[in-house]
Symmetry: C2
DNA sequence: CTAGGTGAGCGTACGATGTACTCCTACGAG
DNA sequence: CTCGTAGGAGTACATCGTACGCTCACCTAG
């Protein structure tokens, strides 16, 4: 019966993402997002408990683009495992600035939970259960999360590679050489090769490679 | 000839770590560290360019405890790879609160560089070079970094496990089951098993397992 | 058609943060 | 003892998150 709401949760997530894309993650603030929405700062608090929840919305928005089942649950299980990992990489790659947010409050946000559920289902379909499944799941999760960070924040990527390759060659010869090599390996290939290695080590048959 | 310095870099790192251990990472501030050292806030800026550099000092302090070569460079190369990974895990495990700092400015800080150089040397000793070495290095790095975060910030660890196991069982059956299983797998074992899987997948002969 | 109350919107204010600027002063060389 | 150098610190400002409470737009009841 009172005045109707003028904002929606997806609109807020979109605005926050717009702020991040335009001015970078440090510029993400309640004031900035409110301004982006053409609304007073404190009005945001009618929709969001605080900054933490706002960040959660951004994570959810980014991860919402990973499709969990267009392969169908009857697709080859190992293919599903690989696809789930690759899609997270793609989703994160579309918004690299949010990488540091991926870690906060993962168990409060739904998207990672649904992803985890899908991944565990695929592993179970392959006969991996119990402690083996715990190890496989956490190893894959660690790799995917770590790879996203290494790729977008790491010393071996982007301008980091350049900085590394001009290190004192006498003190860090291998590092300098590897930085040079790294520039010749496309990031997507690198991720896929790493992922396949991890899967193989876990006893998951790699699709077609 | 002027007044002598009253602070040292290690002392500042120690003070910052003490603040973090006592009050948590969000409490890390220039004021808090200065107070810990019994010194005016702005005096800290005589020793540190700013907050970012202070964080770097903390990372360096934590990572400085990983011994890079007590195995000797003539030890079995695969054993060196495994040891380097395990030691980072141990070092981080001793100060879990600093995990979020590990990613910032990795190529400005010396400790990760030295670690990377040692790791690349071990891989080269095993005949892994060129693009293969790039993939192996980044995969191991992603796993170690990701594992630290999953272990200390993740939904499957500590209180996160508890939160997960009381999820709606009908919507997340696998997740709930895995959370229960996870409580029966010691984190160190889980890390070692995951590490060995990654190494095996990369073609690195796992030591004795 | 009108009166009322609910809750959306937001202005103000407070504490905390990083840090630029400035002054004061302790110290050792001469 | 004197003095210049550079370390120590106080003040100040912009920015942040957010607690509090006011105003008024809107829907419903009569």
């Amino acid at each position: 019966m009172p005045r109707p709401r003028s904002l929606t949760t997806p609109a807020i997530a979109e605005a926050a993402l717009a702020v991040i894309e335009r001015q970078g993650l440090p510029a993400l603030s309640m004031r900035a997002v409110a301004g982006e929405l053409g609304v007073g700062t404190m009005s945001l608090y009618r929709y969001v408990r605080g900054r933490e929840e706002l960040e959660g919305l951004v994570v959810e928005r980014v991860l919402a683009t990973v499709d969990l089942d267009d392969l169908g649950p009857d697709a080859p299980w190992a293919g599903r495992v690989a696809a789930l990992c690759e899609r997270v990489r793609d989703a994160v790659g579309a918004h690299p600035a949010v990488v540091p947010l991926l870690l906060v409050g993962r168990h409060r946000i739904e998207a990672p939970l649904r992803w985890g559920e899908a991944m565990l289902g695929a592993l179970a379909a392959g006969g991996i259960t119990g402690a083996d499944r715990v190890v496989a799941f956490r190893t894959l999760l660690a790799f995917v999360l770590g790879a996203a960070q290494v790729e977008h924040l790491g010393p071996l990527s982007g301008e980091g590679t350049v900085a590394l390759s001009r290190l004192p060659t006498d003190r860090y010869p291998h590092l300098a050489a590897t930085a040079a090599d790294a520039r010749r390996v496309p990031p997507a290939d690198e991720f896929r090769r790493g992922l396949h290695a991890v899967m193989a080590g876990l006893g998951i048959p790699v699709p077609r490679c």
